[in-house]
């Protein structure tokens, strides 16, 4: 009698243990998924990756400063694009106006505008997309007084990412056009 009771209790404890473990596993899985998507995860101790993402992307256009270099002092060298887009954002136009102003002051400088795409597209289409992005930047520089013979365009498609991550933030940094001094 006694033995069977002990066995029964032990059985119950094992069952309980399994349920608790199962719940715990489920929960941890859920948390990981959430932190990688858009819902806010309840992690207060560490820097919230979602908060960070919000500060770094507007829509899916990168607005942070990581990877951004300078064409000249105070003149950022690159602008970022939304997925499959070649439209220049307000911030991009501001950057390009600064580039144009600096280029007008330094009329001996010629540049190459390098167009890039993220890795989420087919190689050949991305080459075309990079070319389109670089030309969007070039056209804007021309509108602000830089003559076309000072601007070369070079598309790298998805061949030269700056960030090797496979996530939306990394991709947003890679969708860019970069103005590089050529002389």
């Amino acid at each position: 009698m006694n033995l069977s009771k002990i066995l029964k209790n032990a059985f119950l404890i094992v069952i309980f243990g399994i349920i608790v473990t199962a719940c715990a596993t489920k929960k941890s899985v859920k948390t990981t998924t959430e932190s990688s998507t858009t819902t806010k995860a309840a992690e207060t101790q560490k820097a919230d990756p979602i908060e960070k993402l919000d500060a770094l992307m507007q829509g899916d256009v990168y607005i942070g400063s990581d990877t951004v270099g300078e064409l000249a002092s105070g003149v950022p060298d690159r602008v970022f694009f939304a997925t499959n887009e070649t439209i220049l954002t307000t911030a991009s136009r501001e950057t390009l106006r600064k580039q144009a102003a600096w280029l007008r002051q330094n009329s001996n400088v010629t540049v190459v505008v390098e167009g890039h795409a993220d890795e989420r597209g087919t190689r050949e289409y991305n080459l075309a997309l990079g070319e389109r992005r670089a030309n969007a930047a070039k056209d804007y520089l021309m509108t602000y007084g830089v003559s076309s013979d000072r601007i070369k365009v070079l598309s790298y498609g998805k061949e030269r990412p700056v960030d090797s991550g496979s996530n939306p933030l990394s991709w947003s940094k890679n969708r860019r056009s970069v103005t590089v001094k050529a002389n």
Binding site: E119, Y125, L129, E131, R132, L154, E159, V162, G165
Partner: protein, 454 residues
């Protein structure tokens, strides 16, 4: 590239041309879950031959190696199952003369392949003669075979030619083993990949690097009418342009004189024309250049991105992708650029259409809900069938018989951006038999040659 890289066949004798229809047959239109058991004996040879081959090739047992090439080729189709050689009851030399069919039936073999290697001297030069026979065990008769004399260094190709013969005889389809694959070999971190053109036999052997990696190279493609010629795109001198390379001479030339980036090249089926995209002033259009007359012509005229063109095997049509509808979709037009018609209407975006060498299907890459698929559809866009799904994969290329699609797949990196790799994969048109294609380095942008000429 060295001379004699390509096989020189002096004699090619068909032992028994056109024989009555054999009993053994395989239906390859369905995924085959029940592979046919076959026995491939080591090809036998005499002592003098062994000595000569050791001297020429430094290979101990060439006959055994040839039998392994055949086994490996046939097993990779998923249609055949090679029986362990230890189980064989009859000696290879006797079996080649006259198999005791009961012995082969006893180990459940339906098909038997036997052969013989003999060294030969012609004008003081060493050659090898390889004879092979294909036997139907249940029908108790020889159904095919040939004898072939070649330079010793082309020995692997003989193994492939035998595999092709067996495959053709048993499936009724043309073979694809005596072929090569041109691809881009990749090394280094994801942000600074070094890329070289590489050429290898279909089974991953005899890899040769065509470029040194000093400039970015992309999308090599064989000329379907000449297996010694490829086209590709190179960033030589930071001018991304389409080139044509002769693999025998190493001679290389830029195609056309375009202001702007040329990319996405492909030969016409007769090898006389090249289609590609030209990107200029933010717009990509499809162009054709006649390689004989050097006349070039613009085929599309639209402010959208038009790229990844591919000819139909009769040369009358071109399929390509365009984002003129807002997103990348697949279109078909006549090869003069007229009658443009969208054919992809499923959910997601579609790219890299490649016409099957049989003419009835178009292979493509599809992106839907964050996943990449390789699929096929009929040339009017109906009958879409997705063959494989993954994090990232694209660039399908057909085997010359239109039964297999090779493509490349890239892995997702971890949180630290580590763990990136690119590999070649193949899958049957049935959607079965997905396989990693072995390459010495990481690899992408594969293109399958036609059956090699001599």
């Amino acid at each position: 590239m060295k001379k004699n890289f390509f096989l020189i066949i002096l004699f090619y004798v068909i032992l028994k041309p056109s024989i009555s229809f054999s009993l053994v047959e395989i239906d390859i239109t369905r995924g085959n879950l029940d592979p046919m058991p076959i026995s491939v004996t080591p090809f036998f040879s005499d002592g003098i031959t062994d000595e000569n081959i050791k001297k020429n090739l430094n290979i101990e047992n060439l006959g055994l190696e040839i039998s392994r090439i055949i086994e490996n080729n046939l097993e990779k189709t998923g249609l055949f199952d090679a029986i362990e050689k230890e189980a064989f009851l009859q000696k290879p030399d006797i079996a080649h003369l006259k198999p005791r069919f009961e012995d082969w039936a006893l180990i459940k073999s339906q098909v038997l392949i036997t052969g013989k290697v003999t060294s030969k001297k012609i004008n003081e030069k060493d050659y090898i003669n390889i004879e092979f026979k294909l036997w139907d065990v249940l029908g108790a008769k020889m159904v095919d075979g040939f004898s072939l004399t070649t330079t010793p260094r082309s020995w692997r190709r003989v193994g492939h030619k035998i595999s092709d013969k067996v495959y053709e005889r048993l499936t009724g389809e043309s073979g694809y083993f005596d072929t090569r694959i041109i691809y881009v070999a990749e090394e280094g971190p994801k942000t600074q990949r070094i890329k070289k053109l590489a050429l290898m036999d279909q089974d991953g052997f005899n890899t040769k690097y065509i470029t040194l990696g000093s400039e970015l190279v992309l999308t090599p493609r064989f000329n379907p009418a000449n297996d010694k010629e490829i086209t590709y795109m190179s960033y030589f001198r930071n001018m991304p342009r389409v080139y044509i390379v002769n693999l025998q001479t190493g001679e290389q030339k830029v195609v056309g004189d375009f202001r702007g980036m040329t990319f996405a090249p492909r030969f016409s089926p007769d090898g006389k024309k090249l289609i590609m995209s030209l990107a200029k002033d933010g717009n990509s259009e499809i162009w054709v250049r006649n390689l004989e007359t050097n006349i070039q012509e613009k085929l599309t005229d639209h402010p959208s991105i038009d790229t990844s063109p591919s000819y139909s095997p009769d040369g009358k049509f071109i399929t390509f992708n365009s984002d003129r509808s807002g997103y990348q979709q697949i279109y078909v037009m006549r090869s003069d650029g007229s009658k443009v018609k969208r054919i992809s209407f499923g959910k997601g975006i579609y790219g890299t259409p490649v016409w099957s060498p049989r003419g009835d299907l178009i292979a493509f890459t599809k992106l839907h809900k964050g996943k990449f698929f390789i699929g096929v559809m009929r040339t009017d866009g109906t009958g879409e069938r997705l063959l494989t799904e993954n994090f990232y994969q694209e660039a399908p290329s057909w085997s010359p018989n239109g039964r297999i699609i090779i493509f490349y797949r890239e892995t997702k990196t971890d949180d630290k951006g580590q763990g990136f790799s690119a590999k070649l994969w193949s899958i049957d048109l049935t959607g079965y038999n997905e396989r990693l294609v072995s390459t010495e380095t990481d690899a992408s942008d594969p293109s399958w040659s036609s059956l090699l000429g001599n």
